[in-house]
């Protein structure tokens, strides 16, 4: 369904970026209460990382939802949210802009609901505004904010990568996270994949990454990946966990505060035991070797001094090595809008939010991993809170008409009061649940810390920045010569983080290497990046904003 020209110029009540658990929950919560919502996501199917699904197709031998279902959790909730979104799309209340990569978001100050032509500020590096006015039809009544946000997105489904714009009164940013990685000799060999990447191949494409896979790093996610692999038929010679779960015993209270998460963990542990997978704790990767692709991984125990003990190392033949050290929140979009950050439980920056998931920028709500890595259950709660708060901000309060008609058709005021009461109860429940899950997530982060042992094992000739092929030796030299451990100086001089990924993959490690060389702690300050998605020069040259209607491509695989 293409959005009609009149709809194209509308101002949405809420634009949600990211259709993972957080964004999906926010979208449905807001649309359920009568707001008009556009949800924008780079992937073909909704679900994000946790509920990754194959691209919707109709050919007979497509990858089917049913065949990937065994690798998922809480699917009933996913189906409910997906169906609800489909209903809202069909009713014209919501649009699902799939395969759109948001590269910029910015406030567009406008005095009234009708912004003047060219009133918006041009995007950084782009030519002047060429866009006409935006009407306000279809919006909820009682708008309190005079600020609009323009979301600029690249249509990844067209070879020309057309640009589209969505204008909204409020934003919910829920872009999630990516796998945190640390370098070791051989980590850039083909066949060394991120743990999340191995998981995404199974869930999103029905593909087993390898036949013999070692899973290494730290965090409970490794168990989930290992369990998925053995269920799908792979041999997992070992799961190599750098932390020591015995430290759980120091947090028993926190441990029992999130029982459903524990049940999920117990299920993985069961699967792994049944398949005889050994879990090495306080062990880590020393190196990976192979000619042209990974053929073996050497793992070693972390000794009393916190270093890897090469004398007790074991070499394990593999065809794939899956590594993950936790997750890095994707902060580009919140940072571009000026949202404040703080140091999260893992030491990496996360955004600051209040009880309503409000950022420090009016009209901008944040949910999911960007507020601190906490997993899907927490993302769902935060998303719903953000969706409800965004609705209140634009004034589209109260139960949706349909719900009202069902409960008290002849007494709408009473129905509204009942609705308000129900909403208040719901918000109290959500707040409690968030508190519990956040405490649990912080306890996990405290246990699954990245040990410093990798720094000692990192040889000078190991590539740290995979894009620009900058080695650990080069970073150490710059740090020594210029006594610089901050990301900016190291980046300017040694050029790690100057390539395609803009330092997303190596940023954390490069800072650690430089700081370690100087004997100082790594700071991990938030890094602003000019663009959140790759653009072609053509798009930039075409000026901003292009007046191409976004296409609602909501589809599912049923």
């Amino acid at each position: 369904m293409t959005i009609s020209p009149s709809e194209r110029d509308q101002v949405w009540d809420v634009a949600v970026i990211g259709a993972g658990p957080a964004g999906l929950a926010a979208t449905v919560a807001a649309a359920d209460r009568g707001a008009r919502v556009a949800v924008i996501d780079a992937e073909p199917a909704v679900g994000g990382q946790f509920w990754r699904h194959p691209a919707p197709r109709h050919e007979p031998n497509r990858v089917r939802d049913a065949e990937i279902a065994p690798y998922h959790h809480s699917l009933a909730r996913y189906w409910r949210l997906r169906d609800r979104l489909a209903q809202h799309v069909a009713a014209g209340r919501a649009a699902h802009l799939s395969r759109y990569e948001v590269w910029a978001v910015q406030p567009a100050e406008a005095g009234a609901a009708e912004p003047a032509p060219g009133a918006a500020e041009p995007a950084p590096g782009a030519a002047g505004s060429a866009r006409g006015s935006a009407g306000s039809e279809g919006g909820a009544a009682g708008t309190t904010s005079s600020t609009f946000f323009d979301v600029l997105a690249i249509d990844a489904a067209t070879p020309q990568r057309h640009e589209s714009m969505v204008r909204a009164r409020t934003l919910v940013l829920a872009p999630g996270a990516f796998d945190l990685q640390i370098p070791f000799p051989g980590w850039d060999l083909p066949g060394v994949l991120t743990a999340g990447g191995v998981q995404s191949l199974i869930k999103g494409h029905g593909v087993l990454a390898g036949k013999r896979v070692v899973v290494a790093g730290t965090g409970p996610f490794l168990l989930s990946v290992g369990a998925g692999l053995v269920r799908r038929g792979a041999t997992v010679p070992a799961i190599v966990e750098a932390a020591s779960p015995a430290s759980w015993l120091r947090h028993p209270g926190r441990l029992f505060s999130a029982t459903s998460k524990l049940a999920e963990g117990a299920a993985y542990a069961n699967t792994l035991t049944r398949h005889g997978v050994s879990i090495l704790t306080k062990w880590s990767v020393l190196r990976a070797d192979g000619r042209g692709r990974v053929e073996s991984v050497t793992v070693a125990p972390i000794d009393g001094t916190g270093e890897l003990d090469p004398d007790r190392a074991r070499r394990i033949p593999v065809d794939v090595l899956a590594v993950g050290w936790g997750f890095v929140p994707q902060l580009e979009l919140p940072l571009a809008l000026g949202c404040a950050t703080r140091a999260g439980a893992s030491g990496l920056p996360v955004t600051v939010v209040d009880a309503d998931q409000r950022s420090t920028v009016p009209g901008v709500y944040l949910a999911g991993e960007v507020c601190g890595v906490g997993g899907a259950a927490l993302a769902l709660v935060e998303g719903e809170i953000a969706g409800l708060a965004a609705v209140r901000a634009v004034g589209a309060t109260g139960p949706a008409g349909a719900a009202r008609a069902v409960s008290r058709p002849d007494e709408p005021e009473i129905a509204d009061m009942q609705g308000d009461l129900a909403m208040r109860r719901r918000r109290i429940r959500l707040a409690r649940r968030r508190e519990r899950l956040r405490t649990f997530a912080d306890a996990l982060a405290a246990v699954y810390q990245i040990p410093g042992s990798w720094l000692g094992a990192l040889t000078d000739d190991t590539v740290v920045c995979r894009c620009e092929e900058v080695t650990a030796g080069a970073i150490r030299e710059i740090a020594r010569d210029h006594r610089a451990a901050d990301a900016r100086t190291v980046k300017l001089l040694a050029r790690p983080g100057m390539g395609h990924c803009q330092g997303r993959i190596c940023g954390y490690a490069a800072e650690c290497v430089a700081a370690h060389e100087l004997g100082t702690p790594a700071a991990h300050r938030p890094v602003t990046r000019p663009v959140a998605a790759p653009l072609s020069l053509g798009t930039l040259a075409a000026g901003w904003p292009a007046a191409i209607a976004p296409v609602c491509r909501h589809q599912s695989n049923v």
Partner: protein, 89 residues
């Protein structure tokens, strides 16, 4: 089964899969050679973040194999160095 070619070799795939996923299912793990040290590279993050999986599709370089949908009849070729370097980031 629909098929695309990789450096001339036919690669079968299932609709809904990405080029990168289909290559891995076919046992191919690298499809790019780096600019500086000519190192082989393939899928790493799997979700469009790392840009290690860049590949040339129907003559256009710098396509992320983990995101590009596999399609019948397309020609996928190993990308050497920067391809044509027409990707601005």
């Amino acid at each position: 089964m629909p098929t695309f070619t990789f450096d001339g070799q036919p690669i079968p795939f299932r609709p809904g899969q990405s080029v990168g996923a289909a290559l891995i299912a076919a046992g191919i793990y690298s499809w790019r050679v780096t600019r500086v040290d000519a190192r082989p590279r393939g899928l790493f993050c799997g979700i469009g973040v790392c840009f290690d999986c860049l590949v040339t599709i129907d003559g256009a370089p710098n396509q992320r194999a983990c995101r590009a949908p596999a399609a019948d009849g397309i020609s996928v070729t190993t990308q050497r160095g920067t391809g044509h370097d027409d990707l601005a980031v």
